[in-house]
Amino acid sequence: MNLFEYQAKELFREAGIPVPQSRLITGTEDIAQAAKSLPLPWMLKAQVLQGGRGKANLIRKAADLQQAQREASDLFASPTGVRTVLVEEIVPFTRELYVSVTVDPVEAKILVLASSSGGVEVETLSQSAPEKLLSLHLEPGKKLLPFQARNLAYGLGLEGKSAISCSTVLVKLFELCAGADAELAEINPLFVTSEGEVIAGDGKIIIDDNAVFRQPRFQMTRDHFSSEVEYAAAQEGIPYLQFDGDISLMCAGAGLTTTVFDLIHDEGSSVANYLEFGGPNYRKAVRAMELCLANPSKVILIVTFGTIARADVMAQGIVDAVRQLKPDRPVVTCIRGTNEEEAFAVLRTAGLEPIFDTEEAVKKAVALTRGEGQV
């Protein structure tokens, strides 16, 4: 689960990592209230999860109240769907750093990264100036010790108070990462002021989805999703991604679904939604088809090759769904795996022609989007 910038900064503040003063607003009408306690000029930062907000013009500067109101109303009107805006004091800085804590799956260690070139993406950093990117590996379960943080801070070329401030922040960020079950805890940029203070300019925290059960503080809310359907699927526990193409995927198994996704594009067609109803969801065919029907797609393509997710059970679910929901568009089925013969029989009883081959099913679905080979 990705946290919004304001949530990440909330965690930073509690961990003792300095952050700019700010107010969170949910509408232009909150601007006046914010101005009472937060002196201008401001940065207005749209709270959306996508990267590159600067380039997307989702971060605005406001010198006075009028400008702030104008920019805010503009942000809230953005087609991206901006629901909250962080109003933040402007921090004068002399340098920008990059610091993060993440995991290294190959070495099976925690990885601390620091660079003296903050404000750009770490991937850019690692390609353009790898010599500027310092790294440190730690055994899982170990803490980052202050001396290790100092080695990084002095390694970045910091001196005086800023070196101490930066190493303190590193130690705290490291603890935050483990404590919050984070996949990534990143401060970018970390501002260095002329007084040697450091302040988190922006923050990115990704909570491990497999550990959210013990991180009850942050819940997925409607704000995390760009559409109602995505939100509904998430609440159901059904993996779902929204696209805007022609074919609704309703498949089982991440790898197989992804492969079908590729095959559709190879055929020159497009995907309306990625939906997986395998694993724990294999009895949820009705709900899955409902979610597909919420899209303006032209065809529903069902491909499975299940083991525990038995083919006959899934086929029965699909038949139930078709009977109950009476889809207004063609449904293509390619159901294989445990008890596949029974599955074929079940599908046929409902007038669904079972296809045996994935690529054939894809071709069929694509043809249907073009009005060819209507069943």
């Binding site: 990267g51 799956p105 190959v106 260690k109 079950d181 790898g255 499975t304 090759f305 795996g337």
Partner: protein, 302 residues
């Protein structure tokens, strides 16, 4: 024997009394696997499909030797179960749990590396050597998918594996061992580590890699081949070639970020290393035939 398990491997099943544990234990036995004991705290004295159950791994091992541990344990208890098996000296472990917390997965892999153990999983179907033995959950009963043979298969996926394996078999080949390393972002064992086992396996002639977007496992495999660490001919199929940046495609590990982990890069790396990469599942059989011919030609040249 096969690279991980065969009919003589003595398997201990942790979490044997649960629904999943009990169900798959019966299938493992049916397929020929030697399941010697089970473990579920509080259930000592019971039997599951004739297998005696003990409170702890330690107590089970007082009565039964075991070479490998099969875990049907919920994700939140997986770390504990893996450490219990390792603590008792077991060095081959398979865990199917889907949802192991990331930092615990890291600890699992770290502990396994420290004592030279192999932990396969989580979020996997496990390991199968068709016709011999199985640790995990495969539809071995579908003969058009799980036929014995001399092709080693490695995969990050479940149902896509069934799809690709069926293509291997349709092309006239069979599987020596299939290892599902799992779909998590920190699997206990990685492709390159499995490949080293296949490399020294006299029962395996060629490899099939079933990869997907995200992570660097395919790149590591390519690097191993390029550096001469794996000399057997290899084909591959990768899902997610057209996946958009930053979207998690089902598996925790299946995501690209900042341009890293794209299938395009993976395919390039594999091809540079001499791996024949299929564009679609139906090409896998042809690819295999091609590399086997080339492999034979290669042998002839020497």
């Amino acid at each position: 024997m096969s690279i991980f398990i065969d009919a003589s491997t003595r398997v201990l099943v942790q979490g044997i009394t649960g629904n999943e544990g009990s169900f798959w234990t019966s299938h493992m036995i049916e397929m020929g696997t030697e399941v010697v004991a089970g473990v579920t705290p509080g259930k000592e004295g019971q039997r599951v499909h004739g297998v005696p159950v003990f409170h702890t791994v330690r107590r089970a091992l007082e009565h039964h030797g075991a070479d490998a541990a099969m875990l049907f344990v919920p994700p939140r208890f997986t770390k504990d179960a893996v450490f219990e098996a390792l603590d008792s000296g077991i060095r081959k472990i398979v865990t199917v749990a889907d949802g192991i917390p990331l930092h615990e997965a890291l600890e699992i892999r770290s502990a396994a590396k420290a004592c030279n153990a192999l932990v396969i999983g989580g979020n996997t179907s496990g390991v199968i050597s068709p016709g011999k033995a199985m640790m995990g959950m495969f539809p071995y009963w579908i003969k058009r998918v799980y036929a014995p043979g001399r092709i080693g298969v490695m995969t990050r996926s479940g149902s896509l594996t069934n799809e690709i394996a069926s293509m291997v078999v349709a092309a006239g080949f069979g599987i020596s061992t299939l290892v599902g390393v799992g779909g998590d972002s920190v699997p206990g064992t990685r492709f390159a580590e499995v490949m080293k086992l296949f490399e020294s396996d006299p029962e395996t002639d060629a490899l099939v890699i079933i990869g997907e977007l995200g992570g660097t496992m395919e790149e590591e495999a390519a690097e191993l081949i390029a550096s001469g660490g794996c000399t057997k001919p290899a084909a591959a199929f990768l899902g997610g070639r057209t996946a958009p940046e930053g979207k998690r495609m089902g598996h925790a590990g299946a995501i690209t970020s900042g341009g890293k982990g794209s299938v395009r890069e993976k395919v390039a790396a594999l091809r540079d290393a001499g791996v024949l990469v299929a564009e679609r599942p139906s090409q896998v059989g042809e690819c295999l035939k091609a590399i086997m011919r080339k492999g034979a030609a290669g042998y002839a040249e020497n």
